[in-house]
Structures are given as C-alpha cells and as structure tokens.
C-alpha cells in the first residue's frame, strides 16, 4: 500500500472530531502509514462549489491534492463528498492537459503546480482492498454483537463510471467490512437511497432535506437496529443533527445512534465509546452506550 496523507475536510474536524480521532486510532492499529496534511482546506464541497463555478472547484481541489503530492503520499479521504470532489478533480486534471495548464497558471501564484502523481482514496474502498475484511476480522479484539443499518452514501459508489466499485443498486463491499467487526448488517428497504443532505439541499432547503431523511429513518426504525453506520461525515451530520431537527420541528423522536465506520471499527478494536467521541453526537442514546459496555 502507498503511503497516505489524511485529508480531513470540514465537517470531521470542525463538527465531529470523534471521527478524526477514531480514524487515527484505527489506522495506527492497522499499521497503515499515514501523515497529517497540514494546511488543507475545504475540498471544496462538490454539491455547491462544483455547480457554482467549475474552475473554482477544480482549483481548490487541486491545491489539496498538490499538498499531498509534495509529501509523496496518496490522499486518504474519510468523507464521500471529499472523495467525490478530490477523485473527480484529480482524474479530470490528469486526463485533460488544457485544464491542467489553466489550473496551474493560478496555482503558480502560490508557488505550486499540479503534477498528477498521486491517487485519491476513500477509507472504505481502501480498507476493502487492503488489509481486506478477512484480515480485519482476525485483528478484531472485541467482536460486536449489534445490528447495524448501513448507509453507503451516494458519492462512495456513484457516478459508477468514475468510481468503478461495482453495483450501485446492491453493493456488498461495505457490508463485508461492517460484518468483519462482528456486527450484523441488516437489510432494509431503500438502503441505497440518498440521505437528502447533498447538492446544497440541506443548507438551503432544510425542510425538504429533512423529509428525505425522515423517509430513510422510518425504514431504518422498522428494521429494528442498534445504530446507523456511514462513511461520510455529511451523511453523519444529516442523520445525527437531522434527528434533533425533526424532533424540534415535528415532535417525532427516532433516537437512533449514528456511527462513522471508523468509530464502529474502533469499538471492535476495544476502544471505549468516549475515546471515539461516540458520546459527543447530538443524539444521545444511553441504552446503546450501556449495551456497548456490556459487550466488553
């Protein structure tokens, strides 16, 4: 495996630091060679910036990639949105010489140049490749006895022509990683449906966004699970913060705990919920925390 730089994005470090901590603990445990990526910015958010002005989107994305090129490390993302932005920008700049040239005229002003020497990875496809679910299962020290509603999130697998991760209607790779922790990945209707946050919809049209979320939450509640697992801090924010917003606006309480995969894996590696920031979510579910304690 190539060496990696850990690209944080915005929501992980600035809203859910537990995901950052859990990711680092897991990477250390897995003996994956990674380093911080000092000075990185917003990816920038694909749903909004990419639609405002493509040149701006490419330019900010390219700067983040160049920082990693300078360290001779592949970029590791822990967010579907960051992954979508950075992997697409990286591919476009590698494939289109004119685009690379025009981007570099701007980058020159800060003494940088895009070369196209590194890859962009998402932690889920990376872990599936190496060490892989079998190996991870062997390394788990505290197998989890819980039922999980897995949410892939759209931009991990789509657009499929760009991602190349197989089926977008019924993928399995992420489920295998969840099951490597001992947890059961429970099937539920509309599992592949969008959480409703992307494309600037959550920021500008919150009520519409929450209606899409509630549809998913009701399906998940019916599946009788212990928690939701995602691989995207923006979906995480939508599921966690959105439950509070739905409670305030409509008086409906779901109270389903939300975990990023790094937090789930951290639990299976024996770390406590508070070491992984699981207790710092907005949804607080004592029953779940007690169940986790009972598990170890």
């Amino acid at each position: 495996m190539n060496k990696l730089s850990l690209y944080l994005g915005c929501i992980t470090p600035n809203r859910y630091p537990g995901i950052e901590k859990a990711t680092k603990l897991c990477l250390d445990r897995l003996e994956i060679d990674y380093a911080d990526l000092p000075g990185a910015s917003c990816c920038p958010a694909p749903g909004v910036f990419r639609s405002f002005d493509k040149a701006t989107w490419l330019l900010l994305a390219s700067r983040n990639i160049v920082l990693s090129e300078e360290m001779e490390r592949d970029v590791l993302t822990i967010c579907n949105g960051c992954y979508g932005s950075l992997v697409d920008a990286n591919n476009e700049l590698k494939d289109d010489l004119a685009l690379k040239k025009s981007t570099n005229t701007h980058l020159e002003k800060i003494g940088k140049a895009f070369k196209g020497t590194v890859a962009v990875r998402h932690i889920i496809e990376l872990l599936y490749d190496e060490p892989g679910p079998e190996k991870i299962k062997e390394m788990v020290t505290s197998p989890l006895d819980i039922r999980v509603a897995l949410h892939y999130g759209c931009h991990l697998v789509k657009p499929s022509k760009e991602r190349n991760l197989g089926s977008t209607e019924d993928p399995r790779f992420f489920d295998e990683l969840v099951e490597a922790t001992g947890a059961e990945s429970v099937n539920y209707p509309d599992k592949m449906a969008c959480c409703g946050a992307g494309g600037g919809v959550r920021s500008a049209l919150l009520d519409k966004s929450l209606e899409m979320l509630e549809h998913k939450l009701s399906r998940i509640r019916d599946a009788d699970v212990d928690c939701i697992v995602n691989a995207c801090p923006f979906c995480h924010l939508q599921f966690d913060g959105g439950q509070i917003e739905i409670k305030e606006k409509r008086g409906i309480e779901y109270n389903i705990p939300v975990l990023h995969y790094s937090q789930l894996l951290g639990l299976a590696f024996g770390y406590l919920p508070e070491e992984l920031g699981i207790d710092l979510n907005l949804v607080t579910n004592e029953e779940f925390l007690l169940k986790l304690k009972g598990d170890r």
């Binding site: 944080l8 600035n14 409703g196 992307g198 494309g199 710092l280």
Partner: protein, 169 residues
C-alpha cells in the same frame, strides 16, 4: 448582466452539448423522475427539468434546479445514458453566472472565502476536541494562516470573490 452575455447563454441545450453533456436524445420516459429521492417529497420533476432545458432558458429560474441532492440515481438509470446530474450541475453554473444564487449558498461561499472551510470550527467543537485529547485546532487552514492566505489568493485569482458578490445583487 449585459445583453450579449445573455444571448450567448440563451440556448442551454447547446451549452450543455459543448460541455459534453448532450440532452437531446431524451425519450421523456420518466425513469429519472421515478428514481429521484427529491421528487418524492419536493415535487421536483427531473424529466421536466430536462425537457425545459431543451427548449428555453426558463430552467435557470426554476426552483427545482436547486432541489437536486446530486445523488446520481437518475444518471445511473437513464436508458439513454444522459448525464442528467452533471447536466443539472452545469445548468446551475449558468444560473450562478447570470447572478442567480440562493442566499444560503451565498453565505456558504462567504464562509469559504473567509475561513477556507465551508463549515468552520466553533468554540463548542474546540472543547470537544480537547476532551478527546486532541489539539483545539485541526491540521487545516484553521491552524496555518499562510495556508488560508494561499486559498484566498486562489479564490481571487479565479474571480470567485466577484462571482459570489455579483450573485448578491
């Protein structure tokens, strides 16, 4: 926005074709609308958006344009392999360059111009970070003022500061 600018963009379909996103082969079969998570709740009709884009610039003012979560389900399922989601993003770009931007999106743009983050840190999260034994500021532009200056130089260099300001009118 001046007249010449406007007439250049009067044909959305041609602009999309130039961007490698042709939409004229649309059958109006409705697979896209049937797949749309937003359509279920917002009344957004993807098929209608595609039809509108073929015939007029009204699509630039259609509120549905901003209801797409970019989930890519329609694009995956379209029998004509029309890059619907990419086309919606490209139509949004034309709209933004015509000065049409939702106020909340303008605010997010200002956050990136000011902080280099669309979601900047706050005191509550700094506390949470410290409780986890982490530094209050992450290893991003938040911690490195020179890096933030670089980001601002780039945003100015490509005219994004002006674009976000024009849209303010």
């Amino acid at each position: 926005m001046n007249q010449s600018n406007k007439s250049n963009k009067s044909n959305i379909s041609d602009a999309l074709k130039d961007a490698g996103l042709p939409i004229l082969t649309c059958l109006q079969c409705g697979t896209c609308s049937g797949s749309c998570p937003s359509g279920r709740y917002t009344g957004m009709i993807t098929r209608k958006l595609v039809r509108e884009a073929r015939v007029s610039t009204d699509v630039l003012h259609d509120p549905d344009l901003w209801m797409c979560t970019t989930c890519y389900t329609c694009q995956e399922r379209c029998p004509r392999e029309i890059k619907i989601t990419d086309a919606i993003l490209a139509i949004r770009t034309i709209a933004v360059h015509e000065g049409i931007m939702l106020p909340e999106h303008r605010r997010v743009s200002q956050l990136v111009l000011e902080h280099g983050h669309a979601v900047p840190i706050n005191d509550l999260v700094k506390e949470k970070r410290e409780r986890l034994g982490m530094e209050a500021l992450p290893e991003t532009v938040h911690k490195y003022p020179d890096a933030l200056l670089d980001v601002q130089t780039l945003l100015e260099s490509c005219g994004f500061d002006k674009l976000a300001a024009i849209a303010q009118e």
